[in-house]
């Protein structure tokens, strides 16, 4: 099918050309420099380590040899590292460490490899990028911004209104067949779990458990008689494959894999980011600084696009400015400036359990050891969890965070907006969603409890292991008890299965806590808390949130992480579903069942299902982006807050025509 599409203006062609050139150059930057190890570029300050590494490198003929790429240099350095490690181990076994030197100040630990490797690769890099970082920043990121803006700015012309023309004609945004999509998902899942075994150093326990849980959830969902594996999923494009989208997705997946697990190949990007990083924090750029820059640039530039697209809609404009502001100020600038001021790096809007490292020992030690500012950050972080989330969600729904403040949400609402229609709206996807996202929440809670439990002292302080367990048990029992009480009174609409699963999980957690309270065992939940958190960081923090979460934008829509994985979204969602004033109301009988609302719901909510039967939409996953209301051609949907009928929000099924009271329905 050939379709006459919106012709690009000359300015847009130029913008697109500049952007693609910048992207190409940005990618090439990783291969432009070559690598040469010499004593100064060995970024190791410990003299024992440095000497041993130099010796090993010299032995292996690595010194002063030029390597054309990081893919050749890094393995060579890793071989030298292992030799140095063995040498030091031998010497330590024979003579022990010198007087007054600790074992790990002398020996090389496995965990030191990544840091030494990354910095050495970066400092051994020589070539055009190393010599002209600022120039390359301008030629890549700078030109990318310029090209993007040139492409976007002409969109401000013409009449304001809904601009969804040709989304399903575009090879970028039309999505894939269910089979192609499933194949990608399966490949990603097995790839991640396989890599996870390697990542954990040959440990099969957690990868095995994860695979079992994945199979269990698949079984639970497919066991439901309503849907079967052969059913066409509504959102999977039946006969189209968006090949440009596919390439985009693969690029993003590759980017995240390198970023999280082999950042030593991204040193070119860190080098060109050094000038900006020095200006902001006074430190050199890490891979996270590169990521933060790209993330912020993406949110800002694509935020301008979002504003152009929805310039008739003030809710969208204000919301977009909000996510742009929080990304730029809270996520990017403030933490860097804090570092410059010798304060802990802290993102004031990142909330546990999305920010899963908040209760990790190194973070707590860092905050506690940073004086009044650090303590304020600690209290602030806890206040966000226990006060801000329930209170703000009570008043406004989870949108206050998910589509106004959150960084993941910010990227989804800007960079991800062209892909929002690709979320799967089938009932089956919803069933997957509920098991997976609440599973991740439970995993996050268990992981954090384990970490905190092993962090806390057994006695001494008032806030010790015992009191922590008591507090957790009380909170869990209170929350579940309150929910059960309201369920019994019929105030909340939860299925019997839902209540049973809730009680089951609560009883399990309380039981485990009680066991520890009385046994005093070190291994919380019988798990090694270090391994647990390492696996959580790998599987959820990196693979799910990054590789799948963003890499799958063009494959499964822009909220894959927020919908299926984010534990904070699960927590906010529980509040939104059961105790919040927020809902999307429907306007009487005006719905024409056209499906625009469902199609453009990034969370895969079948909004039309509710709208056409005159039922308010109250769903734990709704992030309140307001696009359903914007694309509705008949003015049927409105995001609203009211305390008046908040406990009956979903029960109230407005009679579209013949009132229920007039009917004698069988059940």
């Amino acid at each position: 099918m050939s379709v006459k599409r919106n012709p690009l203006t000359l300015l847009q062609w130029i913008g697109l050309g500049i952007f693609l050139t910048a992207l190409l150059l940005f990618t090439l930057v990783l291969g432009l420099d070559d690598y040469r190890l010499h004593p100064d570029s060995l970024a190791v300050s410990n003299t024992y380590h440095k000497e041993a590494l130099l010796e090993a490198a010299r032995d292996q003929g690595m010194l002063n040899r030029t390597y054309a790429s990081s893919f050749a240099f890094a393995p060579a350095f890793q071989r030298a590292f292992r030799q140095a490690q063995a040498d030091l181990q031998n010497r330590f076994d024979q003579q022990g460490a010198p007087e007054g030197v600790g074992e790990w100040e002398y020996k090389l630990g496995d965990w030191m490899e990544q840091e030494y490797l990354l910095h050495t690769v970066k400092h051994s890099s020589r070539g055009p990028v190393r010599s002209n970082p600022l120039l390359f920043w301008l030629l890549t990121i700078g030109l990318g911004i310029l090209g993007g803006l040139l492409y976007i700015l002409p969109k401000f012309r013409g009449l304001p209104g809904i601009k969804n023309n040709h989304i399903y004609h575009s090879h970028m945004t039309r999505g894939m067949k269910l089979s192609v999509r499933s194949a990608f998902l399966a490949a990603a899942l097995f790839g991640i779990i396989g890599y996870g075994i390697f990542y954990l150093g040959g440990n099969y326990f957690w990868p095995g458990v994860s695979l079992l849980i994945a199979l269990l959830i698949t079984g639970l969902v497919l066991y439901k008689p309503k849907t079967s594996p052969g059913d066409e999923s509504r959102s999977a494009s039946p006969h189209a494959t968006a090949w440009i989208g596919l390439i985009t997705g693969l690029y993003l997946i590759g980017f995240y894999v390198l970023l999280y697990w082999t950042p030593q190949h991204l040193t070119g990007w860190m080098i060109l980011s050094d000038p900006l990083s020095h200006t902001l924090s006074g430190k050199e750029a890490s891979q996270w600084f590169v990521y933060g820059t790209l993330y912020t640039v993406a949110v800002l530039v694509m935020g301008v696009r979002m504003i152009a697209k929805y310039r008739h809609n003030r809710y969208q404009i204000i919301r977009t400015i909000s996510v742009m502001f929080f990304q730029l100020a809270f996520a990017f600038l403030i933490p860097e400036i804090l570092v410059r001021l010798n304060q802990p790096y802290f993102d004031f809007k990142n909330i546990w359990p999305l920010n899963y490292t908040f209760f990790f020992d190194w973070n707590l030690n860092n905050l506690i050891g940073s004086g009044a500012t650090g303590l304020f950050m600690l209290v602030w972080g806890i206040a966000l969890i226990v006060l801000a989330v329930p209170l703000l969600t009570y008043f406004y729904g989870k949108r206050w965070y998910c589509s106004w403040v959150c960084g993941c949400g910010g990227l989804a609402e800007t960079l991800g907006d062209p892909y929002r229609q690709l979320s799967d709206k089938s009932l089956r996807a919803w069933q997957y969603e509920r098991w997976i996202i609440h599973g991740v929440l439970v995993f996050a809670v268990i992981m954090t409890m384990g970490v905190l439990y092993s962090y806390l002292p057994a006695g001494e302080l008032w806030f010790n292991q015992r009191n922590f367990l008591m507090l957790v048990m009380l909170m869990l029992a209170g929350a579940m008890g309150y929910t059960y009480y309201r369920w019994k009174r019929g105030a909340v609409d939860i299925s019997r299965l839902g209540i049973r699963v809730g009680i089951g999980v609560t009883v399990l957690l309380i039981g485990i806590s009680a066991y520890h309270l009385f046994s005093g065992s070190e291994k919380f939940f019988f798990l090694n808390s270090n391994e647990t958190r390492q696996w959580y960081g790998f599987l959820i923090g990196s693979a799910f949130a990054g590789v799948i979460g963003t890499g799958f934008y063009p494959i499964m829509g822009n909220r894959v992480w927020c919908r299926f994985g984010c534990p904070l979204a699960a927590y906010l969602g529980l509040v939104q579903r059961f105790k919040s004033r927020f809902r999307i109301t429907t306007n009487g009988g005006q719905c024409i069942s056209c499906g625009n609302c469902s199609t453009y719901c990034e969370m895969g909510i079948d909004v039309r299902w509710y709208a056409q039967r005159g039922q308010d939409v109250v769903r734990s996953s709704c992030v309140g982006c307001g696009i359903c209301a914007a694309v509705c051609p008949r003015g049927v949907l409105r995001l609203e807050n009211s305390s008046l009928d908040m406990d009956e929000r979903t029960k109230h099924l407005r009679a579209l025509h013949i009132p229920e009271s007039k009917t004698a329905l069988p059940n």
């Binding site: 969804n164 059913d231 066409e232 009487g588 024409i592 307001g626 409105r638 807050n641």
Partner: protein
């Protein structure tokens, strides 16, 4: 008991859903158009690339077997009402105990010469959409005939493909049999603002053959010839009931039905576009080819077919549409040519793409209807005011209760109040702003009394 339903549009499918709710009858829905129910109103969005056909299906495919609603793809050629059997074009005989006819309508063709050429069509069915798609490839100009809702949709569709459109409207202003003059002119302006060649007071005389049996141009009554490769006929629709000609079912323009949507033949009902009411409510037409009335009739006919006699009551008139970027909603009695006792308060935004019209009874002073362009109002609130014959003054002062625009949108009710004060010399104040809380209070309070 086996209920057969001819037509899987909104009326037929709503009937099937409610029969399932009300009974255990066997249900068969027969359609020649598509395997599954889709939203006819969304056809334009498929063409424009906003959605795919799959997205216009309001229910997933598993919904039908799960609810034991059998879907049959067949064209019913003949109905034997005495033998209670349907005959498909494939020769299949389908016996039934009760029959609901919800077969919809077809675009009007008023006997124009050339109206049966290729690339001359309306936009009603899925096949019409395919026809438009097939014709669009090399199309250099389309002519659309008929100034109604489908015409403007078709214009918007071609416009998204950058195919120039000439839009022939017989009347002196777009849809001016329905829209009051100011709103009608607003739509004229907006259509032209999008670069559509809108020709008012222009009638089609003949569709010209390009020499291959396809449309090659049109000639207007004024004698002007316009070259085009496609002619869209959008001058309304009529019930598509030819296949019933030889039955004893009484028909005029549509299938005649009583208040219970029953035809003159026992156990045969009709609902939706194809039905013609013998006794329409005052102020209402006997045939209303509208999504909403189709849905209401489908629900009503289900009750009647299941032995719960329920008279069809379409309630207070409402409708909605979208003209390019301007949304339109109407509640109650808003007439293009206002009768003598109708008066209205009309506010229009200076940009000319939004307006609010309140129609009231000049003598009794109560509200009769609302006509909204580019502004969303709450149906329930408007209906309540209309049903209770609320005095205009009270409506004006509480007008914010009806506002349904998204958060942060400008509220224009203060301007409406100010306009009222200027026109009447009164000094009313707006007491309610937009918001769910106040609207719920208003609605709940009234319901309790």
């Amino acid at each position: 008991m086996h209920v057969a339903i001819i037509g899987n549009g909104i009326a037929g499918i709503t009937a099937a859903r409610f029969i399932r709710k009300l009974s255990d009858h066997d249900i068969t829905v027969i359609s020649a158009e598509t395997d599954h129910f889709f939203s006819r109103t969304a056809l334009m969005y498929i063409y424009m690339g906003h959605m795919r056909y799959e997205d216009t299906k309001p229910y997933e495919d598993w919904f039908w077997p799960k609810n034991r609603i059998e879907l049959k793809r067949a064209w019913i050629e003949r109905v034997d009402v005495e033998g209670k059997t349907l005959y498909s074009s494939q020769g299949e005989a389908i016996p039934y105990d009760k029959l609901i006819i919800a077969c919809g309508s077809a675009p009007n063709r008023f006997g124009w010469p050339g109206q049966d050429l290729r690339r001359v069509q309306g936009l009603y069915s899925y096949q019409d959409l395919q026809g438009m798609e097939a014709a669009s490839g090399e199309l250099e100009r389309a002519v659309i005939v008929g100034g109604g809702l489908i015409g403007v949709e078709m214009a918007e569709m071609f416009h998204t493909r950058h195919i120039p459109v000439t839009f022939l409207v017989r009347e002196s202003s777009y849809w001016d049999m329905v829209l009051p003059p100011e709103e009608s002119q607003m739509v004229n302006r907006h259509i032209r603002e999008h670069g559509i060649d809108l020709r008012l007071r222009t009638e089609l005389d003949e569709i010209l053959d390009d020499g291959t049996g396809s449309a090659g141009g049109v000639r207007t009554k004024a004698g002007e010839e316009i070259d085009c490769g496609f002619v869209g006929l959008t001058a309304g629709v009529h019930p598509a009931i030819d296949f019933l000609k030889d039955t004893s079912i009484e028909m005029q323009k549509g299938i005649l039905v009583d208040d219970y949507l029953q035809t003159n033949v026992p156990d045969v009902y009709a609902a939706g576009d194809c039905a013609q009411l013998r006794n329409p409510k005052p102020g209402r037409r006997p045939i209303e080819a509208v999504w909403y009335t189709g849905r209401m009739a489908g629900e009503t006919v289900a009750y009647n077919a299941c032995g719960h006699p329920t008279a069809y009551d379409p309630g207070i008139w409402f409708n909605s549409a979208k003209f390019f970027d301007i949304e339109y909603q109407v509640y109650g009695d808003v007439q293009a040519r206002a009768p003598e006792h109708h008066a209205s308060l009309y506010w229009e935004h200076p940009e000319g793409r939004r307006s609010i019209r309140l129609v009231f009874d000049r003598n009794a002073g109560h509200i009769l209807g609302f006509n909204l362009m580019g502004v969303r109002y709450r149906q329930e609130v408007c209906e309540q005011w209309i049903r209770e014959k609320t005095p205009l003054r009270e409506v004006i002062q509480n007008l914010g209760l009806a506002n349904f625009d998204p958060e942060f949108y400008d509220e224009y009710e203060p301007e409406v109040v100010a306009l009222y004060n200027t026109q009447t010399g009164d000094n009313l104040q707006l007491r309610q702003k937009r918001g769910l809380r106040a609207a719920l209070k208003f609605l709940n309070h009234k319901q309790l009394n």
